[in-house]
Amino acid sequence: MSFLTSYRLRWQRKRWRARALRKGRELQPVADRTKNIAPKDVLLFCTFRNEDIRLPFFFDYYRKLGINHFLMIDNGSEDDGPAFAQEQPDVSLWRTDAPYGDARYGVDWLTYLQGKYADGHWALTVDVDEFFVYPFCDTRPIRALADWLDASEVRSFGAMLLDMYPKGPVGQTSYERGDDPFATASWFDPGNYFMTQNKLLKNLWIQGGPRARSFFATKPKQAPALNKIPFVKWRKPYAYVSSTHMMLPRGLNLVYDQQGGEKTSGILLHAKFLNTFGDRATEEAKRGEHYRKGQEYKTYAERHGTDPDLWCQWSEQYINWRQLEVLGLMSKGNWA
């Protein structure tokens, strides 16, 4: 049984890799600076579409963490985002106008680039609205985390997606280009996440938070998944299976301890709920390119018009990673 399963998963992984090679042909290099990548550099992989307003803060944030090189895919943006990204000296940019949904929501393109450039590197794979927080991220660069994980012989690092939202209707915030999104969207749900284990791929399937509470309470099964494995010491044969939720080989999904201990883990602060959200939801619901044909966005559009207020009296205001650690949303684990 276990032999058959691992054989099946092996073929699944090879299929994803082959598919990525095929889909990789859809990418056209716009600015290829990958020859600047040094052997120990920490890389960031990201797909974006019409995110000009978010890109400046995104680059700032991750440069401060110590990302050495950004490998970005522009999926048919119509704004100035690509031009801005192209100018950055530490960015390599590809462009494709192929449908997002057909490339498994961008995963195929990313898998292609990761296989080509990330072998032997620590690679962080995030969306433009996801901001990585790990223990000691205010005093230690991401390279320190990478080196420590190397020394501890850990290959993958888990982080939960934490939805951040403002106090008051989402549409009434006014996010400007370059702003810190967490200046307004500074609130989060501290303790309403629930999880089950995926028996086949061994990853945890986590749901909950403000979206489950406000939009999906009556159909919890459809609530978005919050488990992520964004930071991986990449090897050529690896592949993400569904977004960055789970990976193959499945050993990489074991970012949690099952004996009662806590592994070191982080958080992806999710700056989705800003005034940009309403238009996005309407647009993406129409486009139907996202997971389950954009079902999630349709729910948003139906449920609260497009201007939900997610704040409640038990919302917590974000301070720093130590607060998240105390609340039990992430863990220092063995790192001191």
């Binding site: 000691f136 320190a144 309403n192 945890l204 201990g261 806590e262 592994k263």
Partner: protein, 567 residues
Amino acid sequence: MSLGVIMLVHTDFDRAEQLVRHWADAGCPVVVHVDSNVAQATYDRFEKSLADLADVRFSARHRCEWGTWGLVAASQEAATLLLEDFPDVQHAFLASGACLPLRPIADLRRYLDAHADTDFIESATTADVPWTVGGLDRERFTLYFPFAWKKHRRIFDVFVRIQQMLRYRRNIPEGITPHMGSQWWCLTRQTLDAILRDPNRQTYDAYFQKVWIPDESYYQTLTRLHARKVESRSLTMAKFDYQGKPHIFFDDHAELLQRSKSFVARKIWRDADLLYHKFPLPVDPVSADDEPVSGAVDRVFSQAVERRTLGRSGLYMHSRFPSIDRQTNIAAAPYAVLQGLDDIFPEFQPWLTRQTGAQVHGHLFAKDRAHFADDSEVYRGGLSDNARLRDYHGKMFLTNLIWNGRDEHHCFQFGPADTQEIRWTLAKDTNASIWVVSGAWSIPLFASGRSASDVRAEAARLQRTEDKFLKVLRSPDARARIKIMTLAQFIEAPMDVLQTIIDEIAGHRGNALTEVPQMADLTGLPDFLQDLKNQGMHPFLTGDITTGNTQPTRSLPRRKPYVISGK
């Protein structure tokens, strides 16, 4: 000149150069050993970068793989060179390229001058310390280990297993008792010389070449043969995690390191510029004679080990997910489950809140919604009262509720009309105390004023459900504190039971009952139950309810005895 340094280097040569210069500047001769795996060009560059220092030597290179003999061979080679070339050296200090002196090296030299006869080497017998990782303690001295653990893990394991099956045991050379400890030592010239010139050295070397991790046992064992005075501790502060891997120090450890007053610390992160800039500290006559105190560092790192191995009980999150079903402590804190009491006392919930100050919830698992203590739609931590969302993962609804509010005692009402999926979780949780008054569901049915024939089916359903719950609670797997009584038993002496519940919830803060909750009017209940029986539905869980025991009780509240209850 009294102190000489042996430095083993295999990577990060710019940092190594910086460290060699620290030692050399303080007047210590240094013998550097570079791993033979390092490319010749890198080695040449490194050698050249130190060419201006007169008292730096490079010893013949060996291959230094973790846990292999090469590390011992390298230090032997370097030590021989050090003792030959620098006759003034009285103490030899073994360091690596990631060992940073924290205090002025002059402090260390003074300290060693004051302990001229002492060998500082951590050295303990295997029988007495549980340090080893992987279960090989005594066996690392009695089996053969020709394969590298890091590279050929499988062959290593198989080979060990075969020897264990054959009950093979190597002979330990006569005269030595295996000791082990940190590989970073500081030995006197006399001891080191005696080890290197021992007439039996060939025998010992041959033996230790096939011992597992000889660099942690070679000097540690042989020092015991020759030393005049052994201080079994290392002057190099190194902390190890639960897998035996060294902890790494970063810039934000600067203060911790300074307070430790250790002479040397490892491992320092390669890019910890602040640490490399700050240490070694400048000479300070006030603290020059301080002894090292590693208490604070020990605390920080043992907390980390505890967090990694034990974790926070009752927390389920994306990097701690023990199987809920296999745990004995499921929730994070003690809580109480009360079944039937709110049927008997209509105002039970507010009354219990007043008596105990605990968070008293209504029916958390009611079919319509979760009835939180404050009857809000969203409760602490952002828990929704939505029944479907709650039942989607009832166990984690409970563990989340308790984790979020673990600073308070939680109680909630439960009953056969509620969603029942949670019952095994409750029964198995040692943190739960469950109080059941069985058959109390008959009171609301009776009070509804409907006839026995109308409520017969519902009564039967409730009784069946409650009976299943009781079976769960009475199963051998149930680990909660469980108290089950029938309605008849309860109304015999209700105040005694209430007092016990309050004492348990409120602990020492509980008062003697000053206020008694109003019991529902039970006049006529026996007739109602008899009617049910006449319909063919025997309410066996209520116990024997008679007209006699349903009269309003007038028992006086019992005064609380002076007993120190343990909460």
